[in-house]
């Protein structure tokens, strides 16, 4: 097991490369989900008030 982590002395290079790749994938998943959820919630709140948002925003000004 420790051999796997040591990677014959190349451990820091190999594991940091894999760690950064994992972080990039996780960021992508999180960011896509957050955007989808935010816009779903926005659509739900529009549907609850039953008013088109675009017009509502203008009339509030």
């Amino acid at each position: 097991m420790s051999e796997l982590f040591a990677m014959g002395g190349d451990g820091p290079y190999v594991w940091s490369a894999y760690g950064i790749t994992l972080a990039v994938v996780i960021w992508n998943v999180w960011s896509a989900r957050a955007r989808l959820k935010r816009n779903l919630r926005a659509a739900e709140s529009v549907s609850a008030t039953d008013e088109p948002t675009r017009r509502a925003k203008v009339s509030q000004l």
């Binding site: 990677m7 894999y18 896509a32 955007r35």
Partner: protein, 250 residues
């Protein structure tokens, strides 16, 4: 130019949203399983390289992330072009969705390449190396595309102007691919896409190709999820979306 009828269904936001919603989980599941298997085989099972030792194991993620970045750019440019020519808003939505994914994977390819370069080339970064420069340009094209879009208040205008930048920039993709053949570079030549057999042992080639398939599935999974978010943002206040959220809320 007339487009076939089936093509027009892909211009319908509710249809594409629903399709993405049913396909995405399969792509995500398959992609993550393949990446997990490929990582295990690449890190723990495949033999060390006779020259590079264990550091070569970065080969199971570095070319794959670079390839996802180039695939994302090609998809972005082609869909932006389709949106520009045929005035299809959903095509622009696909282009916008591909950009952040492509930018992050290109960044990842540059960083993992730098990490690999240190022990093998003796340097993290080499100014003037063609492939490194054009890959960096790819990152700047993604960021430029996103920055250009952000500078417009009107979405239609942002779609049309940024599409031109995306389409012009596509010339960079084949340049990256052929850069190792056209110029002298530190970067190695093609290992897999050669006319003769791939110059890689089967024990290394199998995890390599599993990772390529896994990253491809992960990319399309992320793209569909982003596209869903983008469709919802563009369709706020429309009747189908109102009916849709009421249907799921009830």
């Amino acid at each position: 130019m007339k487009l076939p009828l089936w093509f027009h269904r892909f211009g319908s936001p509710p249809y594409v949203y629903g399709l993405a919603n049913s396909v995405a989980p399969w792509l995500g599941g398959a992609g993550l399983i393949l990446v997990a298997i490929g990582s295990y085989l690449g890190l723990a099972v495949a033999p060390p390289d006779y020259l590079q030792g264990d550091v070569y194991r970065i080969i199971y993620i570095h070319p794959q992330t670079a390839y996802v970045g180039m695939m994302a750019y090609t998809l972005m440019a082609v869909s932006a072009g389709i949106g520009f020519i045929w005035h299809i808003k959903l095509a622009h939505a696909v282009a916008v969705s591909a950009a952040p994914i492509g930018a992050s994977f290109t960044f990842c390819a540059l960083v993992t390449g730098a990490i690999w370069g240190r022990p093998t080339w003796g340097t993290y970064w080499e100014w003037g190396d063609p492939r490194l420069m054009f890959e960096l340009l790819l990152l700047f094209l993604f960021l430029g595309y996103l920055a250009l879009r952000a500078s417009f208040d009107e979405r239609d205008k942002a779609d049309r102007v940024s599409a031109v930048l995306a389409f012009v920039g596509i010339v960079n993709v084949p340049i990256i691919h052929y850069s190792v053949l056209w110029w002298n570079t530190l970067h190695q030549g093609p290992t897999i896409s050669r006319l003769d057999a791939p110059a890689m042992d089967t024990a290394m080639l199998v995890p390599f190709l599993i990772m390529v398939a896994g990253f491809t599935a992960v990319f399309y999974w992320l793209l569909l999820r982003r596209l869903q978010g983008e469709i919802l943002e563009r369709e706020q206040g429309t009747r189908w979306l109102r009916d849709f959220v009421r249907g799921t809320a009830a």
